[in-house]
Subunit: 282 residues, 2 copies
């Protein structure tokens, strides 16, 4: 596996890779969710490129940029084992050079939920992803369903700006007890770690109600809210039952709707989501 | 010369063209300025693609979108004669489909001068150019120095978002009496057409003062202002003597500074500019 830092090195190494090229952008501290995206890419792409970059512009001033976990030696080992051909490790100065002044703004889909709680977050995400796309020029790019709104935002940007890239979404990978894998899970102490399963319990409780015939969005949101409130260590930030593409809250719920939420468990902010379907298997 | 409308047709035809590919984006009603860009592209590119699209998002609500001149049969003939291989003629619905919601904002360089007079103009320009770049995927793209701030904005966007495209700037092409070629010159009646040379006269008067040793930006701006005011049919909107990259107004002027201006001649808004240099030849 080749490692590069500079953009010129990246371009040089990219020219040597066979296409179609699959791209897995990450912020590092990799878990099985990231590696499942590499696996997906390996299935249909001739070459796979990953990036590790903790993007400062998607963190708010009071967020965890400086505390964000990292383990570069571990990450490189995991990516190599997973069969990645090339990993790009740009510095903040490479991504945001002096006098950087261009921002990609997605209106609509980036505004509610995470967008409302984290002002500027999706502007940072869209801008860095546009840059990564232009730098790596992949045919396919892989994102996890765990960040459902990010997926909607990036699909919207890709379509709107005509990026010649197919966006592929991998399913959320979970711990055995249902907790969605996240680099931020490392912040949880043992007690919080147990309590953190409340997000998935809230989602599956609402899903069970949907499966039993409940179609009122407000009731499904209430079910999720009440489940989270039942856990003393958890504090709900939002719950949502929305159209999965435009993220409008739904009154009448149908198959394909997105249940999502954010909650603090202790001081750690966690998100999770689940797409409702007519099938019992989902 | 192939003509395409749909994005899928465009991609199909692009796949047949040899690279390096040169791209000349236009709003149509072509003049020798546009054709000089095609000529430039022909010099170093294996294939040349042009686009004709009057981009609604770069016009303000009180501007001349609906009056903007067009002559598609004439344009196609000119592009074919100039040796263009492929012309893309997208509709507004293709460029801005339902639920379009993504905007590219360039801060700093897009804010003064044209940006101040035409709020939203450069957001529209940057967004459509990002789309055109991703749709056409050229190695080189050609823009006219006539729109000096647009050049600065597009260079900034290309650098900031890592578009793998070289921006090439062609010199302003002028009528024999000095008027910069512009599709909007067609709005001028014969009397206004004569008066419109005042912009170039203002630029050359300031340039002569610079050549004679004047280095005070405020005095050069005054010279341009006074020249325009001397023409009864003209009304100055702004004059500028600025850094050509970031467009900060200069107190002390040196080689490479950009003289620029906007003025109404009758009801027609015209812009022009000139880069100062140490050499007498420019």
């Amino acid at each position: 596996m080749k490692q590069v830092v500079d953009l010129a090195e990246l371009k040089k190494e990219l020219a040597l890779l066979k296409t179609p090229l699959g791209f897995v952008p990450t912020m590092g501290y990799l878990h099985d969710g990231h590696l499942s995206l590499v696996k997906l890419a390996k299935q249909t792409c001739e070459s796979v490129v990953a990036s590790i970059f903790v993007n400062p512009t998607q963190f708010g001033p009071k967020e965890d940029l400086n505390a964000y976990p990292s383990d570069l030696p571990g990450d490189l080992k995991k990516l190599e084992m997973a069969g990645v051909d090339l990993v790009w490790l740009p510095t903040p100065e490479i991504v945001y050079p002096k006098n950087f002044n261009t921002w990609v703004n997605i209106e609509g889909v980036s505004e509610p939920l995470e967008g409302a709680m984290r002002p500027g977050h999706f502007r940072g995400v869209a801008t860095v992803v546009a840059k990564l796309f232009n730098a790596v020029e992949p045919q396919k790019a892989y994102f996890g369903q765990k960040d459902a709104q990010q997926v909607a935002v990036i699909k919207q940007m890709t379509r709107d700006l005509n990026f010649p890239i197919e966006i592929i979404v991998g399913p959320t990978v979970r711990e055995p007890d249902g907790l969605a894998m996240s680099s931020r899970n490392t912040y949880l102490n043992p007690e919080e770690r147990k309590a953190a399963t409340v997000l998935y319990r809230a989602l599956t409780t609402a899903k069970a109600a949907y499966a039993a015939g409940e179609r009122d969005g407000e009731i499904l949101r209430k079910i999720m809210h009440q489940t989270i409130e039942s856990e003393p260590l958890a504090k709900m930030q939002y719950v949502s039952c929305a159209d999965r593409e435009n993220l409008y809250e739904l009154e009448h719920v149908k198959s394909g709707a997105l249940l999502s939420m954010a909650a603090f468990v202790g001081k750690t902010r966690l998100i999770d989501n689940l797409v409702l379907s007519g099938k019992d298997s989902e």
